[in-house]
Amino acid sequence: MNTKVNIAGVEWKNPITTASGTFGSGMEYSEFVDLSKLGAVTTKGVAAIPWAGNPTPRIAETSSGMLNAIGLQNPGVDVFLDRDLPFLKQFDTNIIVNVVGKTTEDYCKVVECLADSDVDMLEINISCPNVKEGGIAFGQSCTSVEAITKEIKKYAKQPIIMKLSPNVTDITEMARAAEAGGADALSLINTITGMKIDVHKRAFVLANKTGGLSGPAVKPVAVRMVYQVANAVNIPIIGMGGIMTGEDALEFLMAGATAVAVGTANFINPMATMDILKGIEDYMMKYRMEDIHELIGCVK
């Protein structure tokens, strides 16, 4: 049974990665999951300098979902290279670094710093709804998506995955703009902007007022967007948004994603990535499928 997929020239042993920000740099979850069994590990957003993130509360629970407004707290690219990368290199998996910035220059600086490192792919987060500057602002207009993609491609030595925001009128326009800018792959969806009010305190639950919605609640939106984008571009897609089970992951693959990322599910089940992988394998066994490519985009 073949579960290998190839994303922009990088071979993954299986189509499972972790959704940025839900898996740290792998360290904490390595107690539960053998990281070598993952197609790739995608790290929390990494910036040029350390970011302190937003005030707390940073998360809130919603029906079948959660809001987060972490605000991209991260130790900066230097600590990432010195501490987190060597840790990840111990494992036989691909390393995808999620890159964040407040300006195009910020993004390019991180990309440059990582250019000669052992990082396998870069995921450019132009879709974080929880920071005042940068983030989602880059991801909500075609011109800026194309422009930042082009600019980053100048500095990047690894394949570039542009991470798209669902907070747009037409996701296919953003996908086409990223493709036009030279993106090697796309990942979607980032979180949908939401809000929760504590009616007893008469106050926002999150210190940041709004946060990004993730988890099973958003899965139907994510599957729809993956399907639309898969039919609009010719570059591979990493699908995510509410994947909790093997069947959820299969929905994304059938909609046209070449790989999937597991996010919120890690919080509910630290072994989620492995359970999802097993779910896919069991499915292939049950339906006597030889190759995972028989599933990718099979629903038209």
Binding site: G21, T22, F23, G24, M27, E28, Y29, E31, F32, K44, P50, W51, A52, G53, T56, P57, R58, I59, A60, E61, S63, S64, G65, M66, N68, I70, Q73, P75, G76, V79, G215, P216, T264, N266, F267, I268, N269, P270, M271
Partner: protein, 255 residues
Amino acid sequence: MTATFKKSVTITSVDKLSIDIYSMWIQDKEIVSAAKPGQFLSLYCKSGDRLLPRPISICEIDKKNHALRLVYRIAGKGTEEISHYTVSDRIEVMGPLGNGFTLEGKKAILVGGGIGIPPMLELAKQLSCEKTVVLGYRDVTFLDSEFIPYGQVYISTEDGSVGTKGNVIDAIKENKLEADIIFACGPTPMLRGVKAYANEHGIKAQLSMEERMACGIGACLACVCKSKDTDHHSNVKNKRICKDGPVFYADEIEI
């Protein structure tokens, strides 16, 4: 690194302690072997719309019977759901989580406020030095009698119905309690008071902190508190309560 387990465990006893306070014993060899006072468990709800864990402190550890006690208040839908579980039901948990209290000092005051009282019970049992216990309540008390075997117990209530009228600091002052260390768990204003008091008196304090959590293991950065210095892990002035805490020395953190 201490071992952490994620598994379904059996509930072996359930008691209602007060109008909205419940006590529950669960049984699991691995978790109980690893558990220390001040650590907590993440409890998972059965209702599929409630995804996130409910962090609940370890109240008592019974190593012999592989049993562990949790005492919780109904604060919302998750704890409400859990309050309906009965003996022999199973519950999904992860733990033990966090660092727990460091057992130290010659003369200690254990301070618990409201639903911060439960973790002080196992601490009282394990802390071998001389100690007094100060428990703060709004009005109705719970768990207070269970502390009696371990030290003199002082109580404060906001309405003055039992013990000192006021808060735990009022009780400490009224009873002229002395110590070289304070261990405390409770609402933030109380912890702030304890920190100030410890500062004033030049003594150490270990404070158990609270924040909304998602992963419970240090990966998601949901549950941070402000630290005095740049934290080794975060490289900013934030510490993760679930992983680096929940117990911190008062002078490590800003509250």
